[in-house]
């Protein structure tokens, strides 16, 4: 897989730059060679539309369109890797449309037409962009060969030009390959409407999840209160009532009941405190995110370095960040076997960045319930979560919450 192209500036001439450019040239060459199937499929696509009324086009479409889809998927993947972006396909749904209905859906689907447009680009301008780096790399060798075989003035001139080629190759390769990837993304990754539709679908999904989550939270709080404090206080009432009844006849039993009642009030208060902590932690309420996270780190049985550099943020964001860090630290204590951990929080004006790391055994599973739950909760804020946890190499959870300052 090629490395993503982060900049098209020349950069230092080092091994890394050289390896990257050779790789990009190879990818470009592969992209260039894909012009062959592109030409074939483009011609066939036009035939499909032309022969559609005769019925043959329907059968042909069932061969051509899926093949085009495969080719587009390959281009999407290459462009996505080069731009370190995810380029999802967004074709119209053809489920249950049958042999004849399906091509009609394809005919009306802008995404399929963009595929066809991309075939045209891939066999023309795209092929040129992709092929140039490889050409610049091979040209000097060809020119040298030609000059060796026939020492004419023309070959001499070409050889002189060829000597400049590597320099040109070094300078233009990133720009050419990135330009091709950008064009692919522009053509294949949907128009503005599709992107907005996708965005709305994402927002709907995360909204539903947030609502489910808060409903579940409310149920959990109700259960905690009912099974905890409420039951204990009722039990205290019973004990005190019975003690009152026994006071005259059996003072010793009454005293024992009262003692039990007093102990039960202590645990009832503990229950209430833990419910309150689960709803909105006092440290977070009183002292903001920094205070909240410090309070989280205090009771943890290993040294935790906390650095927080963030202004006061909207309460929902602070709350989400707090519970995300709480979950990560709980995982560290439960699974990591670490000797130390750290939490770094900073706000760069656009987003809140949270990093929770430890030097434990690693191998954390991002799809585990805890982390997946955090990821879902952050998704409601368009936040992201990434887990880096090689076996034996500690765990670093990086979270980002977009949250521009007013």
């Amino acid at each position: 897989m090629p490395s993503p192209i982060r900049t098209v500036a020349p950069g230092p001439v080092d091994e890394r730059g050289l390896v990257d450019r050779v790789r990009w040239s190879a990818v470009g060459l592969a992209d260039f060679l894909l012009f062959v199937p592109s030409v074939v499929l483009f011609v066939l696509s036009l035939l499909c539309v032309g022969l559609g009324p005769l019925g043959v086009g329907f059968a042909l479409a069932h061969l051509v369109v899926p093949a085009t889809e495969r080719l587009s998927a390959l281009h999407r993947r290459i462009a996505g890797d080069l731009l370190s972006d995810d380029l999802p396909a967004a074709y119209a749904d053809t489920d249950g449309r049958g042999f004849l209905g399906t091509p009609l859906v394809w005919l009306r689907d802008p995404a399929r037409w963009r595929d066809v447009g991309h075939l045209a680009f891939s066999m023309s301008g795209g092929a040129v962009l992709s092929g140039l780096p490889a050409l610049l790399l091979v040209a000097p060798l060809v020119h040298l060969g030609g000059f060796v075989l026939q020492r004419t003035a023309v070959w001499g001139l070409l050889l002189a030009v060829g000597l400049v080629c590597p320099l040109v190759w070094w300078l233009v390769t990133p720009a050419l390959i990135r330009a091709r990837a950008l064009a692919d993304r522009g053509i294949l990754a949907g128009g503005r409407v599709e992107r907005l539709e996708q965005r709305v679908a994402d927002v709907e999904a995360t909204r539903t999840e947030s609502l489910d989550h808060s409903a579940a939270e409310v149920r959990r709080i109700e259960r905690d209160l009912h099974d905890g404090a409420q039951a204990r206080i009722a039990a205290v009432g019973m004990n005190v009532g019975l003690a009152e009844k026994l006071l005259a006849t059996d003072p010793a039993a009454a005293a024992a009941l009262l003692r039990e009642a007093r102990e039960t009030t202590v645990s009832a208060l503990e229950d209430l405190r833990s419910v309150v902590r689960g709803i909105h932690p006092p440290a977070l309420a009183d002292r903001g995110l920094a205070g909240g996270i410090e309070a989280l780190a205090l009771p943890i049985p290993l040294p935790v370095t906390v650095t927080v550099d963030a202004p006061a943020l909207p309460p929902p964001v602070e709350s989400a960040a707090y519970f995300a860090v709480a979950e990560c630290l709980a995982n560290t204590v439960k699974h990591a076997g670490a000797t130390r951990a750290w939490v770094r929080v900073r706000h760069d004006g656009r987003s809140l960045h949270l990093v929770v790391g430890d030097d434990g055994v690693g191998g954390a599973d991002p799809s585990g319930t805890g982390l997946a739950g955090v990821a879902r909760r952050l998704a409601a804020f368009d936040g992201t979560l990434a887990v880096d946890s090689p076996a034996g190499g500690g765990t670093v959870v990086t979270m980002e919450l977009p949250c521009p300052l007013p």
Binding site: A231, A234, L242
Partner: protein, 223 residues
């Protein structure tokens, strides 16, 4: 079982999932000369226990495992459908007039709905258990208050005097004339007068039987 025969030692069945509360209930019942013949902490076991013939009153928590919804209430209503007038006193952590109504609708008295907090008033609670066992109806004052307060303002309730309203509330809780008289420090005769005044003002059918009286009042309050 016929309401007339009250055994010397009442036998109770207790269904409550919270161990603390279950222990408290058992302790209170035993300290009040009752015998607890069965303790259960979940709905399936309660359904089995309610089929037994050796208890005089069942004390049931509304919310029980496995699903923590209203299994206790459902089991009680089902058992009373199979055995009419099976004495059941339902305990709830919340005031839910709806649950009380479902219970009362299972008919024929010998039924009660109390908040768990009431158990702390041991003598009152024990009296309520005995009343249900004897075929009476017991409703939590909170539930009644909710029903009275929830009545529309333009209702004939406004025609009642304060004293009549007190009597109505106590009557809705399922108390007998004697108990109401004791509460309000008036003679039983005076209570009887208040009650017939109430029934006249509210257009209720006069009923001699305690239960039917309570049901009439409740039906009135719920409309």
């Amino acid at each position: 079982m016929p309401a007339a025969v009250i055994p010397a030692v009442l036998r109770a069945l207790v269904a409550e999932d919270q161990a603390l509360l279950r222990a408290g209930l058992v302790r209170i019942l035993e300290a009040s000369d009752m015998e607890v013949v069965a303790e259960v902490d979940n709905a399936p076991m309660l359904e089995k226990a309610l089929e037994r013939a050796d208890f005089d009153v069942a004390i049931v928590d509304v919310r029980l495992p496995p699903t923590f919804a209203t299994e206790g209430l459902a089991a009680a209503v089902a058992a009373r459908a199979a055995r009419p007038a099976l004495p059941v006193l339902v305990l709830s952590a919340h005031v839910e007039p709806l649950y009380a109504r479902d219970l009362l609708a299972s008919g024929q008295g010998a039924v009660g709905y109390l908040l768990k907090d009431r158990v702390a008033d041991v003598d009152e609670f024990v009296a309520a258990v005995r009343r249900v066992a004897a075929g009476g109806t017991v409703l939590d004052p909170e539930v009644v208050a909710g029903l009275v307060a929830g009545s529309a303002a333009d209702r004939p309730l406004d025609r009642l005097t304060d004293r009549e309203r007190e009597v109505l509330t106590l009557m809705a809780e399922g108390r007998s004339n004697a108990a109401i008289a004791g509460r309000l420090f008036v003679s039983e005769k005076a209570v009887g007068k208040h009650i017939s005044a109430i029934f006249t003002k509210l257009d209720l059918p006069q009923a001699s039987d305690d239960n039917r009286r309570v049901l009439a009042v409740l039906a009135y309050l719920q409309t």
